[in-house]
Symmetry: C2
Subunit: 213 residues, 2 copies
């Protein structure tokens, strides 16, 4: 059985550690809940920050709660170019050796040594949906998008499975704009090569050398 996967767009946002939050908003400050996000337990906060890089900045960037162990800033590739920070594609939480930036809040500024990532495209899946789609945690799959004008097949989509998740795929604003989806875009996991993982790079190389699968 196949699973219809809602595709949601993540605009630039910040996950913040309690320690960094206090430095920027004060010792007594708390995250202020605004509304729930699609993933259970995640919520938009009232507090906002500016992100500053060597070549530019973004103001009024949303903080998502709850607190995380490490502060992490998620930008699109277009965003990283605009503020002059290298665009490093990573899974959430994997911030070792990523670029830093400066955050500006009401109490001043805070230099962050690492934590700026371009989120690797991914699917949050419930264990039930993962079993229906015959995928497991950390599998990389293809996802075919619905689009009336310019469809895409995303390669290198990592699947994350947890009973805490709601099934949905997350892409950044570049990826969303590149496929010009409908108002509520959806995708489906595409099983190429009999469902085996297969490198798109290797496939491209093969096509170019005249090998057709």
């Amino acid at each position: 059985m196949s699973v219809k996967i809602p595709i949601e767009t993540s605009a630039r946002h910040i996950h913040i550690s309690e320690e960094d939050f206090r430095k920027l908003f004060g010792e007594e400050a708390q995250l202020t809940y605004v509304h729930e996000l699609s993933q259970p337990g995640q919520y938009l906060c009232k507090e906002r920050l500016s992100i500053v890089g060597p070549r530019g900045s973004f103001e009024n960037v949303a903080i998502l709660g709850p607190f995380r162990k490490d502060t992490q800033i998620e930008l699109s590739m277009t965003d990283t170019r605009k503020i002059g920070v290298p665009g490093v594609i990573r899974q959430s939480g994997d911030i070792k050796d990523t670029p830093g930036c400066t955050l500006i809040g009401p109490l001043g500024e805070l230099k962050i040594d690492q934590g700026v990532i371009v989120a690797k495209r991914h699917i949050h899946m419930t264990p039930l949906d993962a079993s229906r789609a015959r995928v497991k945690d950390n599998d990389e799959v293809f996802v075919i998008t619905e689009s009336y004008e310019r469809g895409l097949i995303f390669a290198d989509v990592v699947v994350r499975v947890s009973s805490k998740f709601k099934t949905s795929m997350h892409v950044d604003t570049d990826e969303a704009n590149a496929f010009a989806g409908q108002e509520k875009p959806c995708g489906a996991i595409l099983k190429l090569f009999d469902g085996q993982t297969y490198s798109l790079q290797q496939w491209a190389d093969e096509i170019q050398s005249g090998i057709n699968r």
Copy 2:
């Protein structure tokens, strides 16, 4: 035989009619050649314009020469959102019923009733390469991209064939950032469904109803 296709990124730019150019730069003004572009006969000009929409503007936007019959403004989907103009995907030259904008040059401003498009992704091909790849003018194909981090298969790529062209695929900045290509990205035409044209939408629908091809 397969054909390796360089993928080039088109940043926002303007093609302009001689008439509109004179209104913005003066009766005696001429396009000033800066350098050749990848397509033979096309060149970057020294002259620049501002593009203004209901919600924002871009300054210092490049004009590409030579003159065209109609003025045409090519933006990415991200760009159209930023200035508040509907993003309408079209082939170059097909500007009927597209949105307008205001252009500002040294002699003042000019309201354009139509001509703002998001260029449909396309491949310029020489007749020789088209025959090697077994495609013809106006075919729509899939293109598989080389990428070490987040590969894509572009659907709905229109092939344009002319002896005046050099073979290369043109994507906009959203599409380029969405696949995080190498410094000189390349793609290959992917023959799915035995080379028949096939709607990605239909394919997505089929996958979701449990039909696997």
